[in-house]
């Protein structure tokens, strides 16, 4: 018979919409509105899982998120591990499987979408039970405030108070500082395979609330007794919920086992639905009980309860419905920083004050809960090893006692020793039982023993939901220059530099990287070449104290810079180590344009702001990132002047009118531009800046203007080679946070005056001032065709000998060079400058390669090529 335990007319499921699903190897039906648990129970299935360690059959204990036992694997429409059957809504085509404590992940990628939204409200009410609805209605009616009411269950026919925004199937999972709460909304799960792909399956709500009302209710508790984990044993309130909400009878003959009066309402209602009910009450003074002062001492049946031993008798039953009182749900309150106090009357924790604007109402505040004290704990017996406190973790009273017997006193230790409270439910129903067991064993009180810390999330949240849209292309959205499409069309591979995509090189037909880079280098050194340098960080520094400010951050003086001039600058951290380098141009008396390395732009701006905001708030300086406002094209090579003259006819480009380290406003290719005469290659070079939206036009104009000169676009690899030939370091490649300006041969960029700058004091420390520090030097392998591996180490002797082998440094950059007609490398080498001319060895995986130490400036050391 189909659904033999479905009551003919009770419940709220939609009987006009039968649904077919599979559990294990059985195909069954349920109705729209069922959870997997209610549908299974309707079909008479109680055993739904095996326990993790002991392999004991396990059933359904609750009707909600606190479920400790009925954990299943979803297999279709898409695998999802470790979901509670009590919260999975049934849909057509659902395939689930019983689990033994561990789930599995789908090997194929999850094609579902996830997203996140922000919401702001004056009042957030969590929980749409009676107390929550009342609080929301109140708040909306009295003030007209924005009120959001959140509830974890599917929508119910009950009324939403006017003016309240209701979010259903939404669980608040975290409560952070400043009334910032995070909720997960399950939007399409309940549709199964019919879920529209373009709709986010789950959505993360980030809610900032003026005040919060927690109407999160209470969780019913078990009473520990031997074999209290058998399928068919569940909370009394859950049995009632299955009847009322789903029209499901959890058995035909039930024992209700209680320490409080709520059991009698359950018994009455079940009897009304045709169930035989015997009530056993642990209290002697329980006039309505069939069995007052009773103790449940044994359970018969293995995969399903068939009987109980209670009060000295044996009863045939197919369900045991337990209530050991209720614990207010205060996870979120505690996460918010709320204090909890133990209430003896409830045998549970109650809210006791919080620094955030939060209020707890209804059952969550203990209102209406039976004051029955904690569930009675069994006397020690040899059944302790079968009396469970944490079903999912298979933790018994005996195990908890073993922990205290071993010498542990803190519940935190007991948790870690037994693993109680560490499962998917994080001890929702077991936490207080564990504490009570510890208290009993130590002769202490539950109040003294306390509970373990509540931590987010309140319910498990899938990784993908928290990742939201930050996946694939949006994981860290790439930054592209305005000329990107051109590079793409030219077939350039790209290099990630920080968040940017930079063209790496531009292979012509059949060229590999080495060939392309050789050609590009040659063009830059002998003809004319150009590069998209738009990614360089650019910061506009303004204000009457801008010069003074830059003097404090750069090792060299910037305040003396003339308007129209540009200076290379180095910044150190407090420890005197190189942090970034770039140029500073003075635009007006109180305005500078600073460039940074591509990767460090944000870090430099942060650094500036940190100093301005925390140390020097009196300086009148304002910094703005203008990286993305400017497109920059570097025009490089002996032929650069001719090309520039052609596109900027009004600009005097001769050496006298436009000398090195100057900038000029100009019209370039008809576009308003700012041209810098600076060079990162040693060749005559200009960096032409135009508004971002003119970048593409500028690039094309230069390509056209330079066409007959064979203008050659080049990428970051060529840039690296050109600068390395000249010994120009790249911060982050030739430096690593342990390198001073002097180590790099940039001692000239450290001011001689006594005026302070960040890092100055550190540079005079004994170790920083040593002459035998590592210096940036050049290395020439004896074999001019041999390319050293970047990262190879440098030793002074051969053979290596056994470890630990002392070493002198490492290779930071290494390239074949067309200008030098051989390979070369840059390296940081101990006392490097004193070793010039020496023979050392580079070692990679134990092999040794002889090299000669040279100056780090290998090409045009006189600087003869600068002016073209």
């Amino acid at each position: 018979m189909s659904q033999p335990f479905r009551h003919p007319d009770r419940g709220r499921v939609d009987r006009t919409r039968p649904l077919t699903f599979r559990f294990g190897d059985r195909t069954m039906t349920g109705f729209a509105g069922d959870t997997l648990a209610s549908a299974l129970l309707a079909n008479g299935v109680h055993e739904v899982a095996r326990s993790v360690n002991l392999g004991r059959p396990r059933g359904i204990v609750t009707a909600g998120v606190e479920e400790p036992s009925a954990v299943v694997q979803i297999e279709a429409p898409f695998p999802e591990p470790m979901l509670t059957a009590t919260t999975v809504e049934v849909y057509d085509g659902l395939v689930a499987h019983p689990l033994r404590g561990q789930g599995w992940l789908a090997p194929e990628p999850d094609s579902a979408r996830y997203d996140a939204v922000w919401a702001h409200c004056e009042v957030l009410v969590v929980g749409a039970g009676a107390a929550g609805i009342a609080a929301a209605a109140d708040a909306a009616a009295s003030t007209g405030d924005r009120v959001i009411l959140v509830d974890e269950r599917p929508p119910r026919p009950s009324e939403v108070p006017a003016g309240v925004r209701l979010l259903t199937r939404t669980t608040v999972v975290g409560y952070y500082d400043d009334n910032f709460l995070v909720a997960v909304q399950r939007r399409t799960n309940h549709l199964g395979a019919a879920a529209p792909l373009e709709q986010a399956r789950e959505r993360l709500w980030r809610i900032r609330a003026g005040r919060v009302v927690l109407a999160t209710g209470a969780h019913e508790r078990l009473i520990p007794f031997p074999d209290n984990d058998r399928p068919g044993i569940m909370l009394a309130g859950a049995a009632l919920a299955y009847l009322r909400d789903y029209g499901v009878l959890v058995g035909r003959r039930a024992l209700v086992y209680t320490n409080n009066d709520t059991a009698y309402r359950v018994a009455d209602e079940l009897r009304g639905a045709g169930v035989d009910v015997v009530v056993a009450d642990t209290r002697a003074d329980a006039p309505a009980a069939d069995l007052p002062g009773a103790r449940l001492s044994g359970v018969l049946g293995d995969r399903r309860v068939t009987g109980v031993r209670v009060a000295g008798r044996q009863l045939d039953v197919d369900a045991v419905l337990v209530t050991g009182g209720f614990s207010p749900v205060l996870h979120l309150y505690s996460q918010a920083g709320g204090r909890l106090r133990y209430d003896d009357g409830l045998g549970a924790l109650l809210p006791d004050g919080c620094r955030q604007r939060v209020e707890v109402v209804g059952a969550a505040a203990g209102v209406g809960l039976p004051r029955c004290g904690p569930p009675p704990m069994p006397e020690p017996s040899d059944a302790d090893g079968r009396t469970f406190v944490d079903l999912q973790r298979d933790v018994t009273i005996a195990e908890v006692r073993r922990a205290t017997g071993a010498g542990l006193r803190s519940v935190e230790h007991v948790k870690r020793y037994t693993t109680a409270g560490t499962a998917h439910d994080q001890g929702k129903t077991s936490g207080l039982l564990t504490s009570a067991t510890v208290a009993a064993a130590l002769g202490s009180s539950a109040a003294e023993v306390g509970v373990t810390t509540f931590r987010p999330p309140y319910v498990p949240v899938s990784f993908a939901t928290l990742a939201g849209r930050d996946r694939d292309d949006l994981f860290d959205a790439a930054r592209l220059t305005p000329i990107h499409d051109w590079h793409l069309a030219r077939g350039a591979p790209f290099e990630n530099v920080g968040q940017w995509k930079r063209a790496w090189y531009y292979p012509r037909d059949g060229e590999d990287m080495a060939a392309a880079v050789t050609r590009e280098c040659r063009a830059a050194r002998t003809g004319v070449a150009m590069m998209d340098a738009s990614t360089l960080g650019k910061i506009d520094v303004q204000g009457p104290d801008a010069g003074e400010f830059l003097d404090r951050l750069y090792t060299n003086v910037m305040s003396t810079l003339a308007i129209g001039a540009v200076r290379y600058g180095v910044m150190c951290r407090l420890d005197g180590m190189v942090f970034d380098d770039g140029t500073v141009a003075r635009l007006t008396a109180d305005r500078f344009l600073v460039t940074t390395t591509t990767g460090n732009a944000a870090a430099v701006l942060d650094w500036m702001e940190e100093w301005l905001q925390t140390e020097w708030p009196h300086l009148r300086v304002w910094c703005t990132s203008v990286t993305e406002q400017w497109a920059t094209v570097a025009l490089v090579g002996p032929g650069a002047r001719g090309v520039l003259a052609r596109v900027a006819p009004d600009l005097a480009v001769d050496v006298e009118s436009f000398p090195f380290m100057r900038w000029r406003d100009a019209t370039v290719a008809g576009l308003p531009a700012r041209v810098f005469r600076i060079s990162f290659s040693g060749e005559l070079a200009y960096e032409i800046n135009v508004a971002t939206w003119h970048g593409y036009a500028l690039w094309q104009a230069l390509m056209t203007a330079g066409a007959d000169a064979g203008i050659t676009p080049y990428g970051t690899e060529t840039m690296h080679v050109l600068r390395a030939e000249k010994g120009y370091p790249i911060v982050g490649q030739d430096t690593d946070g342990t390198v001073t300006p002097d180590d790099l041969g940039l001692g000239w960029a450290i001011r001689k005056s006594t005026k302070d700058f960040v890092g100055r004091r550190s540079l005079s420390r004994p170790d920083t001032a040593r002459s035998d520090r590592k210096h940036l030097v050049g290395l020439l392998p004896d074999d001019p065709t041999l390319l050293l591996v970047e990262g190879a180490h440098i030793v002074g002797h051969t053979p290596l000998g056994p470890p630990p082998v002392p070493y002198l440094g490492h290779v930071t950059s290494s390239y074949p060079s067309v200008a030098l007609g051989r390979t070369f490398a840059l390296a940081l080498v101990t006392s490097g400058r004193q070793r010039i001319g020496e023979r050392l060895y580079a070692t990679v995986n134990g092999t040794l390669i002889p090299v000669e130490v040279t100056s780090h400036v290998l090409y045009d050391p006189e600087g003869a090529r600068r002016d073209g």
């Binding site: 952070y176 803190s410 230790h413 931590r455 987010p456 999330p457 990262g791 190879a792 290596l800 490492h810």
Partner: protein, 404 residues
């Protein structure tokens, strides 16, 4: 993989504080406990108390992601971490405690040409230092850990990885309890719920501590309080260059074995292993602001999970069960500070930041030596407090950019 050993029937002996001890260790985390153990075992100094303000080893020791490796960049770091790793390799037998030490290997992924250079450099440095190290290309990465996404289409593709096969994980709580039990068996007093609130001094010398359980005299007071070191140091007017930050971590639900090793990625910031019970254990970077509160912000978790799903698409529908935070003590060069303080009678061990779990036995060994001899052990000699005055830093931050 879901195997968890039976816990021993006996842990450490909880002691009542005596009036004075030869050595008082402040902080009952892994480091304090290991130090107490090696003081007794290696130096015969058993008149030792470990004072813990909360429950034993409930600080970072109970909160870390348990990654163990020794493939640090600089010789000084490789020295002390490799010493620790060698001790790890026999620690279970040494302590007679099941600590679930598992040498499943550690991968540090490289996602940019610069990370490739840095990784290659670290491998070479490790080989010269005698630390096992390999450079793997993306295909080899996939062989070691098939669930890592090595597709070139990745936003930051995996370009290779350093691999230390001897690295791995251990069960943090058991390590602490193993040291605690072994130390207390040798006569060390382990005193919980005993917070140090001040120091007693005579002629400048520290002669004892004030605690919530009374005054306790000591010939040597040895700080080992991780994220709260600056608070303690402040009580004796000692300035330490530490920044305390929250560092968060999280666990997933229990899963059948899916992740065979330990993977760390800096650029796509996440590190993850699968613990013995089957849960994924993950962490990422510190919360940026300074804090002494053991809670962090959720956007840090969101970012970490985006990174996890990016690198391990199979993790999409694993669930986060629990997030938490610890307070880590970050030094300017991301290396520890161990040794003398300039104040007689006071020793310091701190600055391990996000990566001190792996050092636990090694630092216990060396700090005990330092306390017993009044002189640094050669392996912690480079990690003096005065290196910030001399400038002889051991910069593992800028240079290697690998934490944990």
């Amino acid at each position: 993989m879901s195997w968890v050993p039976e816990q021993p029937d006996r842990v450490w002996r909880s002691a009542e504080p005596k009036r004075r001890y030869q050595v008082v260790i402040v902080g009952g985390g892994g480091h304090g406990l290991a130090t107490a153990y090696y003081l007794a075992r290696n130096h015969g100094i058993t008149d030792v108390a470990v004072l813990e303000r909360g429950w034993l080893a409930g600080g970072n020791m109970a909160r870390n992601t348990t990654i163990i490796r020794s493939n640090y960049l600089w010789e000084a770091s490789a020295g002390i971490y490799e010493h620790a790793l060698k001790l790890w390799e026999s620690l279970e037998a040494e302590l007679g405690y099941p600590i679930l030490f598992s040498q499943r290997g550690v991968l540090n992924l490289a996602h940019s040409p610069q990370e490739v250079r840095d990784g290659m450099r670290r491998v070479q440095a490790n080989l010269l230092a005698g630390v096992d190290a390999q450079w793997l290309d993306p295909m080899e990465v996939a062989e070691v850990c098939p669930i890592v996404n090595v597709s070139p289409q990745l936003r930051y593709p995996v370009l290779g990885a350093t691999y230390q096969p001897r690295g791995g994980i251990a069960k943090h709580d058991y390590v602490a309890w193993g040291f605690a039990r072994a130390a207390s068996d040798l006569g060390v007093d382990i005193i919980e719920h005993c917070e140090v609130t001040g120091f007693d001094r005579r002629d400048g010398r520290v002669i004892g501590v004030r605690t919530t359980r009374g005054e306790i005299g000591a010939q040597t007071v040895a700080l080992s309080a991780a994220g709260h070191t600056s608070v303690l140091a402040d009580m004796v007017g000692l300035r330490v260059p530490l920044q305390s930050h929250a560092l968060q971590a999280l666990v997933s639900d229990l899963l059948l074995p899916v992740h065979p090793t330990v993977v760390m990625s800096n650029a796509v910031h996440v590190y993850v292993s699968q613990a013995h019970k089957g849960e994924l254990v993950m962490g990422a970077g510190i919360d940026a602001h300074n804090s002494y509160s053991q809670r962090g912000a959720v956007h840090v978790i969101e970012r970490q999970l985006a990174a996890a799903v990016e690198l391990f698409p199979v993790f999409a529908r694993a669930h986060v069960l629990r997030t938490w935070g610890g307070i880590v003590d970050v030094s300017p060069d991301a290396s520890p500070i161990v040794g003398l303080t300039g104040i007689e009678g006071l020793m310091i061990n701190c600055g391990w930041g996000t990566g001190g779990f792996k050092a636990t036995p090694g630092i216990g060994w060396c700090y005990a030596h330092t306390i017993a001899h009044g002189q640094p052990h050669p392996l912690n000699a480079p990690f003096t407090l005065d290196r910030f005055t001399t400038g002889a830093l051991v910069d593992e931050h800028g240079a290697a950019a690998v934490a944990h």
